[in-house]
């Protein structure tokens, strides 16, 4: 795996987008009703003594844009490669389009792959690269040429056919790799960290293009990435993997808003954690006392798992779930606490404030991160300023 997972853990400082591109209620309905294209049942993979995949159970639906997200070494690439057929599984079953893939080698599977390095054949031209998989295709030469032209057009490389492949830029190689795979009309397109080698601007542009392309061809896409933002932007559903297991499989919004474990919450976006004490618990509510926030009643639906039992219960909330205004300014939030600004990080459209919350005993909590959209006419507060923090109990998650 290439990048260190620190890149994934400290994503881009801007919060992940809540609104996804090309989202439509219609698409969700269709996808939910769609039959599974890939089914993994109890898939295990060992390398010698190393247990790389620890019982993967997974359905990927037909026509879905699916992401495998996790830090390096979590097994996401191994899982992708077992689907492609490059790795044999030690036990379990992989079905693609209802067929058991156990005896089907990679070259006979209805999948095609876009490699992390793109694997563009350097001794061939762009057109020869795209036509590579058509060698055994019974169609005539001119029909194949037309298919190549169409594939190149689809990825925006019309007229590049005669270029030498090794002279292309990173983004262009990526497009050739896409055209080369899609021309074979696979049932599943597998993408192994396809955007990691691109610079940031190019990456964002390709994200949008990939979404559009997937909508256009309707093929099931399975993307491997360590970049949580990329997964949130592009996917219909995401499987978050740690240590060879799937920790959570959900739609992006649910993953972001309702992580099922503390580790998932920590991996996706930024989350503040404050130590909490559970006061009482009944069938309806859990009453907790939180450092800096005071006593709160939470519903059972707001509870997630904390993998580290020694850490004790924690309350988690996203930076944008809380707001801060200068002291004295009126607020509408249901709950309000005082606090002191410890650090100000200015990002143009956003400002991050690290704020220490006042405790009843006169001390202050450890700093929590609060993000505020910078609105015209509102001043950015300074370090040391007092502020009022507004929040609602419904935006909190209890990890225990």
């Amino acid at each position: 795996m290439n990048d260190s997972n620190t890149a994934a853990r400290q994503p881009d400082v801007r919060p992940a987008p809540m609104q996804r591109n090309a989202k439509s209620a219609n698409r969700y309905g269709e996808l939910q009703a769609a039959r599974p294209m890939i089914e993994c049942r109890e898939v295990h993979k060992y390398y010698g003594d190393y247990h790389a995949l620890r019982g993967i159970d997974l359905d990927i639906r037909e026509g879905e844009f699916f992401s495998l997200l996790g830090p390096s070494g979590c097994g996401k690439t191994t899982l992708l490669r077992t689907i492609a057929g490059f790795e044999d599984i030690s036990s379990g079953v992989v079905l693609i389009d209802d067929k058991d893939m156990a005896a089907v080698p990679a070259n006979k599977r209805p999948t095609n792959m876009v490699f992390q390095s793109y694997a563009i054949f350097p001794h061939l031209t762009v057109a020869e690269n795209v036509a590579f998989g058509l060698r055994r295709d019974p169609r005539s030469k001119s029909e194949k040429a037309a298919a190549v032209d169409e594939a190149l057009k689809m990825v925006g490389l019309t007229g590049y056919g005669n270029r030498a492949a090794h002279a292309l830029s990173g983004g262009q190689r990526q497009r050739v790799a896409l055209a080369r795979a899609l021309i074979l009309k696979p049932k599943v397109l597998l993408l192994d960290e396809p955007l990691s080698a691109l610079d940031r601007k190019m990456r964002e542009q390709m994200q949008v293009e990939l979404i559009k392309l997937q909508r256009q061809v309707g093929i099931t896409f399975v993307l491997v990435t360590h970049d949580q933002e990329e997964a949130l932007v592009m996917s219909d559903r995401i499987a978050v993997m740690f240590e060879g297991q799937i920790a959570q499989l959900d739609e992006p919004e649910s993953l972001y808003a309702r992580p099922v474990t503390r580790r998932v919450a920590d991996f996706i976006g930024v989350m503040n954690f404050l130590p909490a004490t559970i006061l009482s618990e009944d069938g309806e509510v859990i009453r907790v006392d939180v450092e800096g926030l005071g006593e709160i009643e939470l519903a059972h639906s707001q509870v997630a798992r904390n993998e580290d039992p020694d850490a004790g219960p924690m309350i988690g909330f996203r930076p944008e779930a809380v707001s801060i205004f200068p002291a004295g300014q009126s607020q509408t939030a249901p709950r309000q606490n005082g606090g002191t600004i410890d650090e100000v990080v200015y990002y143009g459209d956003m400002t991050y404030y690290d704020v220490r919350l006042d405790e009843e005993d006169g001390t202050q909590s450890k700093p929590v991160r609060i993000s505020m959209r910078n609105v015209y006419g509102r001043d950015v507060s300074c370090v040391g300023d007092r502020g009022v923090i507004g929040w609602a109990p419904s935006s909190l998650i209890l990890f225990r």
Partner: protein, 268 residues
């Protein structure tokens, strides 16, 4: 200018490397029968004698047969070894590769003597065939070194991509790997050819009564009269080496350009 002193030193070093070799054409075209200054006059007589010499022609033919055969054998075996060592993990790999590469760090006299002892013991007639066997053995590590570089510079996913696009393992090798390592194969062939052509020790002990160019040269060095002819032969050999190396370098560069790598320069 930066490194001016170093540059002067490097140029002096090059002159030191080439100076003795430059004597070859000087005396090859000198009409004096003794290799000494001052020069007498210009002649091509020595080249004429060289071409007319039947033993020399036989030695030349033998050397060519040996060099062609052993370079092909060494390169073919080298492809297997280089592919195995760059692409697969198998038990005992360091030991196996160590044994195959051993001639690189073994004095040639040891290789020659031990082969000779065995060949004599099992009663094999010494001939150019036994020289081919020995030359293949010592060319193999060089071929592997060149081919391993060629195989190593290939992204493993190229092969997987071909396989993924529906080719079999063999056709993926033929369509993708082979064309990409072809410059390396040509380099390995030429390099082995040059080594074999120049090799003396093994040819000296394993050829029996068959002359090869180096053993012929060695046998003639005792006779002062034969030296001018040897000088012209040496001139021809040096020119041949330069031509072969230039071709090898051309293929290496083309390989580099073809796969769009950065040129780090040089063999090995």
């Amino acid at each position: 200018m930066k490194g001016g002193g170093l540059r002067a030193y490097a140029i002096a070093y090059l002159i030191f490397l080439y100076a003795p070799i430059l004597l070859l054409p000087i005396f090859a075209f000198n009409s004096g029968t003794i290799i000494a200054f001052p020069l007498k006059g210009f002649t091509t007589e020595w080249f004429g004698q060289m071409v007319a010499n039947a033993t020399l022609r036989r030695a030349f033919t033998n050397s060519l047969i040996i060099a062609v055969s052993s370079s092909i054998m060494a390169t073919c075996l080298g492809i297997f070894a280089a592919r195995a060592s760059t692409r697969f993990n198998f038990p005992g790999k360091p030991g196996i590769m160590g044994l195959i590469m051993l001639p690189l760090v073994l004095p040639e006299i040891i290789v020659a003597m031990s082969l000779l002892v065995v060949l004599l013991a099992i009663g094999v007639q010494l001939s150019i065939f036994t020289v081919i066997l020995g030359h293949t053995l010592i060319c193999l590590p060089y071929a592997i070194a060149i081919l391993s570089t060629a195989f190593n510079s290939l992204d493993k996913s190229l092969e997987e991509a071909a396989y993924d696009l529906g080719e079999t393992k063999w056709s993926a090798f033929r369509l993708v790997i082979l064309p990409l390592v072809m410059p390396g194969i040509v380099s390995a062939l030429l390099m082995s050819f040059t080594i074999s052509l120049d090799e003396f020790i093994i040819a000296f002990f394993l050829a029996g009564n068959e002359p090869t160019l180096p053993t012929y040269i060695f046998s003639q060095l005792r006779f002062p009269k034969a030296i001018p002819v040897i000088m012209s032969l040496g001139t021809v050999l040096v020119v041949m080496s330069i031509v072969l190396l230039t071709i090898a370098e051309y293929f290496r560069r083309r390989g580099v350009a073809r796969t769009g790598q950065k040129d780090h320069g040089g063999f090995l």
